[in-house]
Symmetry: C2
Subunit: 309 residues, 2 copies
């Protein structure tokens, strides 16, 4: 059999490298290290969820999240919602000092139940937040040198900037992060400015692109999602857990240090990424009929972890 395999290898031209093989041999210069101050680590019994924040897109929300992390508000919080083919959502501990009147909180809660398509906060009496943050749904396109997707995405002209999947409106001169698998956003209620960063979600299903420009994205998961996408789905409305016992407690949320694993993103302006994107668009090997196109969320920019010191 070894002889037969060797003969076969000699007779068959090597197939073009796969997307994974292209990423595996990309030079060190093609990888961008995620700055530790932008690498947020959520720790639970399900493992560490590593999230890269995107201050170029949502600076106000990310400043608010940094303040919540610094105050330890997520420590002792919980994963409150897992909706199949949609999102995992987690919440900071309630801040009793900011409790609204029971009437105000109830109004917010009523808003939640009316928005089955959204990503509402689970605010209840004594667990309300003042509306302090503006919507950060898009930013100026100017200043972003975007690597084009090369395919006609259904939703908007799309591409990549600094490792992020980005959709654009060239006429309006705007750009925004796209909702893809692993995208992390800020839950809000019906008024578009009620998110305060204390309830976050990660996408665990088909890219819900209808949420683009309707909710503030602050980053994306770069490691550990498998421990969270495999959580039991909540059986309440919108996938909220019915009882606190079903929730997963958040041990701690912190930012990375030099001793943590380093995460690197393939530079989407590099020749290696261009080759990767071409190979994702037209697969070979197993594939008998390359698609000749790819939607933005099906590209999946390569990320790798390098063990810490």
């Amino acid at each position: 059999m070894i002889l037969f395999a060797a003969l076969l290898a000699a007779a068959t031209p090597a197939p073009p490298p796969s997307p994974g093989e292209i990423a595996a041999v990309a030079p060190a210069s093609a990888w961008r290290v995620i700055a530790p101050e932008n690498l947020m680590l959520l720790e639970t019994a399900r493992g560490t969820l590593a999230i890269e924040l995107a201050p170029d897109f949502a600076p106000a929300h990310i400043a608010a999240i940094r303040a919540l992390v610094a105050a330890g508000r997520f420590d002792g919080g919980a994963i409150t919602r897992v909706q199949d083919n949609y999102v995992v959502q987690w919440a900071a501990r309630p801040d009793a000092s900011k409790a609204l009147t029971a009437g105000g909180a109830a109004a917010v809660a009523a808003g939640s139940t009316a928005t089955p398509g959204g990503v509402p906060v689970s605010t209840g009496p004594g667990d309300a937040h003042p509306a302090i943050l503006p919507a950060e749904y898009e930013r100026p396109l100017k200043g972003l040198a975007i690597t084009p997707l090369g395919s006609a995405d259904t939703y908007a002209p799309s591409g990549f900037w600094n490792g992020w999947p980005v959709a654009t409106d060239p006429k309006a001169g705007t750009a925004w992060l796209a909702h893809c698998y692993g995208s992390v956003g800020v839950g809000r209620d019906n008024p578009p400015d009620t998110g305060d960063g204390s309830e976050l979600y990660a996408v665990i299903g088909h890219g819900p692109r209808h949420l683009d420009r309707n909710i503030t994205l602050v980053g994306r998961v770069v490691g550990g999602i498998e421990g969270y996408s495999s959580l039991p789905r909540g059986t309440g409305p919108l996938g909220f857990y019915k009882t606190p016992a079903e929730q997963t407690v958040i041990t701690r949320v912190r930012f990375a240090t030099a001793t943590d694993p380093r995460f690197e993103v393939l530079d989407t302006a590099s020749p290696a990424f261009a080759a990767y994107l071409a190979a994702r668009t037209n697969r070979t090997g197993f594939f008998v009929r390359p698609a000749g196109a790819t939607d933005l969320c099906n590209v999946q920019v390569p990320v790798r972890a390098v063990p810490g010191r």
Copy 2:
């Protein structure tokens, strides 16, 4: 507070119904009952996975699957692979009477390791299948009255037929089922005709449309996916479990009877579906900026279960 809420309701015009609300009030005539003979039930400790088969698209593969079910070949099989943002895969018990030579099986296994982007079978020595089935990657477009998607899908002109998400090539006169969340297909190795129906997968991530026309789809999950999409991910290559102990044993695979829950699919030729599709394309309520478009896999044709007798 009740008074206040009533005043609010009187002052605010009712928002347009959401997609879910449209489906909830669709008349009985807008629902198609899935024939029990096309409703395959996979039973494990994770619950019942209900799969509608699509004999209009893959008659030969579905005939083979029916024969395997009738012979009890899936009973005692196992879920062998769960790859995050990709697929859950399960396998029938090995059929010792069809074992190839060790050499033949090894060649197939070698093919698997070379196809990280595909959905290979996990065939090993003593667990090999003769290549008996032709590829059923597409079918004639003729005879299918397709409800257009109404948006420019990235991959192909798309729409819906009899409840199925379908992509087309109008010039070539062909149509095929699209790989969306919940789609069920037949694992194969590198040669496009090696799938025999004894290894099946369900999509549990962003629609892997690059697999369209590269692997035979036979149906889609209509119930119970949450018990399977939440399975622990395999830590071996391609998400295969490293040990049999990690696998979930298949108790039984059978077809539905009149005493099982009935599953119904919203008729994609109905006015109710047209309204649903329009509402999915332009969300209201929570949404401040309707997308004005939707990709094929983000539509999610409504399915409902009706308790059995």
